[in-house]
C-alpha cells in the first residue's frame, strides 16, 4: 500500500535543537564582541569620528552592560580624544529592548578624561556619510570669515600703485546709473508728449476766447445750450489730462528715487574702491578690531566651528517631531538600504539616556581630582520624551596646574525653534603659547580662564569665546630680521601681562557677524597709529586721489545727468498742471456767466 507523504520530518528536531544549542554557545562566546564592534561602528557612523569601545560585557538576565573603556576621537584632530571614559555601567530598560530600542535608565561612569592623546590616528568618517559631509560644510562655512592679515609692510609701496579703471566698481556703477537716467528721461518725455497737454490747453483757450463777450441773449437758447455742452466737455478733458499727469508724476517720482539710489550706490562703490586700492598697497591697519581679528581670529573661528559641527550633528540625529526618521542601513555584503524608524507618542524612543551620572574623586598625575557630571533626557526622539536634554559638569582637577571646570549644555528639540547651547568655563587652565601672526613675537599666556558661551536658536547664532590671563609672558624671535616698527611694538607689548580676548559671533548662522576684541590688539593699534599713522594717512590720501582721478569724469556725468533728468521731471509737471488749472478757471467763469440765466431757463446741466 502506498504510504502518504508526511508533512513534518520529526527526526530532524534533534539536529535542529543541536543547532540552536550551538548558536547559543556561539553567542555566549562571541556575543559580547559582536555587540561591542557593532556599537563602535554605529557610534562612529553617528558621530563622524572614531569611537573605540573595549571590554564590553553583556548581562542579559540583568539587562545590564559593563564597558571597560570608551574613547571618542576629535573629528578636528585625529591624534586627540575629545573624551575618554572608563568603567561604565549601563542599566537598560528590558521592555524597550524587546522593541529593539535602547533606553538607558541609569549610566554610571567612574573615570573620565578630556583631550587625551591617541596612540594611533583616528579613522576618518565614511566619506559618503552625513558626518563627513557636515564636516566639509562646516569647514567651508568657516572660510567665509575673512581674517585680516597683520602686515607692517613699509608704506612707501604707494609708488607702485597702478589702478586699472576696469577694476573699479564706481565706473561700472556710474555707467549703469547713466543708462538708467537716459532711459528714464526718454520714457518721461515720450509719456508727457502722449498726454497732449498743449492741444488740450489750446483748444480750451480757443473756446474761452470764442465765448468772450457773448451772453445767452446773443446766443439764443440752442446756441447757449451748445456752448455750455462744449465748455463742460472741455473741462472734462482737462480733468482727465490732469489725472493722467498725476499718474505720470507718481511714476516720475519713483524714477527720481531710483536715480537717487543710483547716486548713493555710486558713492558707496567709490568707498569700496578706496578700500580695494588700499588693499592693493597692503597698508597696515590701526583699527583695533582688525588687529584683534588678525591675532586671534583663526583660533576663535576654530572654536566656533567645532561648536557649530556638534550642534548641527545634534540637530540631525535628535530631530524634533514624530515623522519617520530615515537612516542608512547596516554595513553588509549586500546593499545596506535604508532603515526607517517610526516614532510613536507614548512609547519608547529609539534611544534614550534617562540619567547619566559621574561623581568621582581620585588621585592621579600628582594631584587629587574630583568631578561631578549629570546628563538627563538625551534622546533620539525628543518629541516622545517631551523634555530637553541637559548636561552639567563641575569639578576640580589637581596637579601642577589646578583647574576648575563649570559647564552646562542644553539641547531643546522638543518643539518650536530648536535651541542648542553650551556654556563652559575652565579656570586655571594652562593656555597654550602662540606666535603673533605678522610679528616676530610669541606670547605664553600662562594659566588663565577660558570660556565658551554658544547658543544656536533656530538659525540664529549667539556665541562668545573668551580668554583671560594675568600672567602673560612675551618672547621675541631672535632669528627674525630687526625692524624699527617691530621694535617699537615690542617695547609696548612686552610690558603687557594682562591678556583679554573676546571673540563674538552673532546673527544668522549662514552668515554671522564675527568680531574680536583684545587688549593686545588695542595696544598694537595704538603703537601702529603713533609710529606710522601719518605715513599711512598720507598713503590713504594718495589712494583716494588716484581713485578720484579715475572716476571723477564718470561721477560728474552721473550727477549732471541725474540733475537734468530730475529737474525735467520735477519742473514740467507743475508747469503743465498750472496751465491746465488756469484755462479751467477761465472756462468755469464762462460757464457761470452762461448758466446764471440758463439755470432759470432750465438749461441742461
Amino acid at each position: 500500500m502506498k504510504r502518504g507523504i508526511r508533512i513534518f520530518r520529526w527526526k530532524a528536531i534533534g539536529p535542529l535543537l543541536l543547532l540552536l544549542f550551538l548558536a547559543g554557545v556561539f553567542w555566549a562566546i562571541f556575543g559580547d564582541r559582536i555587540i561591542e564592534s557593532t556599537s563602535a561602528e554605529a557610534s562612529t557612523d553617528l558621530l563622524g569620528t572614531e569611537v573605540d569601545i573595549s571590554g564590553m560585557v553583556l548581562h542579559e538576565t540583568a539587562a545590564r552592560v559593563d564597558v571597560a573603556r570608551i574613547q571618542i576621537a576629535d573629528p578636528f584632530d585625529s591624534l586627540r580624544n575629545i573624551i575618554e571614559t572608563g568603567d561604565l555601567v549601563l542599566d537598560l530598560d528590558p521592555a524597550a529592548l524587546l522593541e529593539k530600542k535602547l533606553v538607558i535608565d541609569q549610566l554610571r561612569v567612574s573615570h573620565l578624561a578630556f583631550g587625551t592623546k591617541r596612540i594611533r590616528p583616528a579613522r576618518r568618517a565614511r566619506a559618503d556619510g552625513y558626518a563627513a559631509t557636515l564636516l566639509g560644510q562646516v569647514q567651508q562655512w568657516a572660510t567665509q570669515f575673512k581674517v585680516p592679515l597683520l602686515s607692517l609692510t613699509p608704506v612707501d609701496t604707494i609708488r607702485q600703485l597702478v589702478l586699472d579703471p576696469a577694476q573699479l566698481s564706481t565706473i561700472r556703477e556710474a555707467q549703469a546709473v547713466l543708462a538708467s537716467a537716459d532711459s528714464l528721461r526718454d520714457a518721461f518725455v515720450r509719456d508727457f508728449a502722449g498726454l497732449g497737454v498743449r492741444s488740450t490747453v489750446d483748444s480750451a483757450r480757443a473756446l474761452a476766447d470764442r465765448l468772450t463777450g457773448t451772453s445767452p441773449a446773443k446766443l439764443g437758447l440752442a446756441g447757449t445750450r451748445d456752448a455750455i455742452q462744449s465748455i463742460r466737455r472741455t473741462i472734462s478733458d482737462i480733468d482727465q489730462t490732469r489725472t493722467r499727469i498725476t499718474q505720470l508724476e507718481r511714476s516720475a517720482e519713483a524714477g527720481v528715487r531710483v536715480l537717487e539710489g543710483g547716486v548713493a550706490a555710486v558713492d558707496q562703490a567709490r568707498q569700496n574702491d578706496y578700500a580695494f586700492a588700499r588693499g592693493l598697497l597692503k597698508l597696515p591697519s590701526f583699527s583695533a578690531p582688525d588687529i584683534g581679528a588678525a591675532l586671534f581670529g583663526p583660533v576663535s573661528i576654530d572654536r566656533f566651528q567645532q561648536a557649530v559641527y556638534w550642534a548641527e550633528l545634534a540637530r540631525k540625529h535628535l530631530p524634533p517631531g514624530l515623522l519617520p526618521q530615515v537612516r542608512r542601513g547596516p554595513e553588509r555584503l549586500r546593499m545596506a538600504g535604508t532603515n526607517i524608524e517610526y516614532p510613536k507618542s507614548r512609547d519608547f524612543p529609539s534611544f534614550l539616556l534617562r540619567q547619566g551620572e559621574l561623581d568621582v574623586s581620585f588621585n592621579a598625575f600628582g594631584g587629587t581630582h574630583s568631578l561631578t557630571a549629570a546628563v538627563r533626557g538625551l534622546t533620539s526622539q525628543p518629541a516622545i520624551y517631551g523634555h530637553p536634554a541637559t548636561v552639567a559638569a563641575r569639578g576640580k582637577i589637581g596637579g601642577s596646574h589646578p583647574m576648575t571646570l563649570d559647564a552646562g549644555a542644553l539641547i531643546d528639540h522638543v518643539g518650536g525653534d530648536m535651541v542648542d547651547s553650551v556654556k563652559a568655563t575652565l579656570t586655571g587652565v594652562p593656555l597654550p603659547a602662540f606666535s603673533l601672526p605678522g610679528l616676530p613675537f610669541r606670547v605664553d599666556p600662562g594659566a588663565g580662564v577660558s570660556g565658551m558661551d554658544f547658543t544656536l536658536r533656530g538659525d540664529q547664532v549667539d556665541a562668545r569665546w573668551t580668554l583671560r590671563s594675568s600672567s602673560a609672558a612675551w618672547r621675541r624671535d631672535s632669528s627674525a630680521v630687526e625692524s624699527p616698527v617691530a621694535n617699537l611694538i615690542w617695547r609696548v607689548v612686552s610690558g603687557l601681562h594682562e591678556l583679554d580676548v573676546t571673540a563674538e559671533m552673532t546673527g544668522p548662522l549662514r552668515a554671522p557677524r564675527f568680531t574680536v576684541h583684545s587688549n593686545i590688539g588695542v595696544a598694537i593699534a595704538d603703537q601702529v597709529r603713533a609710529i606710522i599713522g601719518d605715513e599711512v594717512r598720507k598713503a590713504e590720501a594718495k589712494v583716494r586721489a588716484e581713485v578720484d582721478r579715475l572716476v571723477a569724469d564718470q561721477v560728474a556725468r552721473v550727477r549732471t545727468q541725474v540733475n537734468t533728468a530730475t529737474s525735467e521731471l520735477t519742473t514740467r509737471i507743475p508747469a503743465a498742471r498750472e496751465e491746465l488749472d488756469s484755462v479751467k478757471t477761465l472756462l468755469e467763469a464762462r460757464l457761470k456767466s452762461l448758466t446764471g440765466i440758463g439755470g432759470a431757463l432750465g438749461l441742461p446741466r
Binding site: 539536529p15 535542529l16 522593541e99 530600542k101 549586500r334 532603515n339 524608524e341 510613536k344 512609547d347
Partner: protein, 173 residues
C-alpha cells in the same frame, strides 16, 4: 572542498531519487528566500527551521540558496526601491509600519530596512513561480537525461562517498 562535495552530492541525489518533484520544488522555493534576502535576519532562521522540519528536500533548499544568492545581489537595487515604496512612499501604510515598529519582538525582523522588506516581498511574489517552474523542470529532466546520468561513472562516484550519509538524514521520505 567538503562543502562543495556535499553540495554536489545533494544536487545529484536530489535531482534523481530523493523525494517527489513537489518536495524538491518546495525546497528550492524555500532556499530561494535564503539567497534572495540578506541572510542574517530573523525571517531566514524561520525559513531554515522550515527547511529542516518540513518534509521537503533540504538538498533542494541548499541548491535554491546557492542559485539565488547572486540573483539576490543583482536585484538589490530593485528590492531597495520596492522597500522604499512600501515603507516611505505609501502614506496609507505608515500607521501599519508605526504599529509594527513599536510592537515587542517584531522590530527584530528588520522589516524597517528597505532591502530586507523589499527582498522578502520580492521572494513572496516569486515563491510560487519558482515552485512551479522548478517542479516542471525536474519532471522534464527526469524523463529526458536523468536515466543516462544515473548510469554514469560520475554519478556512481559521487553517491558512493561516505559524506553522503550525513545528507541522507534530511532526505525527503
Amino acid at each position: 572542498m567538503l562543502a562543495i562535495l556535499k553540495l554536489l552530492q545533494s544536487l545529484i541525489r536530489t535531482l534523481h531519487s530523493d523525494g517527489s518533484p513537489g518536495q524538491i520544488a518546495a525546497g528550492v522555493a524555500l532556499g530561494a528566500c535564503l539567497g534572495l534576502t540578506p541572510i542574517i535576519n530573523a525571517h531566514n532562521m524561520l525559513i531554515f527551521a522550515l527547511l529542516i522540519l518540513l518534509n521537503v528536500s533540504l538538498g533542494a533548499g541548499l541548491l535554491g540558496w546557492a542559485l539565488f544568492t547572486p540573483i539576490g545581489f543583482l536585484l538589490d537595487p530593485l528590492f531597495d526601491k520596492l522597500g522604499r515604496l512600501l515603507l516611505l512612499e505609501t502614506p496609507a501604510l505608515t500607521p501599519f509600519w508605526t504599529a509594527w515598529y513599536n510592537t515587542p519582538a517584531i522590530p527584530y525582523t528588520n522589516f524597517n530596512n528597505t532591502v530586507v522588506l523589499g527582498s522578502v516581498v520580492g521572494w513572496m511574489i516569486l515563491a510560487l513561480p519558482i515552485f512551479f517552474l522548478s517542479r516542471r523542470a525536474l519532471i522534464r529532466y527526469r524523463t529526458t537525461v536523468g536515466a543516462r546520468v544515473v548510469h554514469s561513472r560520475f554519478y556512481q562516484a559521487v553517491t558512493a562517498s561516505r559524506v553522503y550519509n550525513v545528507y541522507r538524514w534530511f532526505r525527503p521520505e
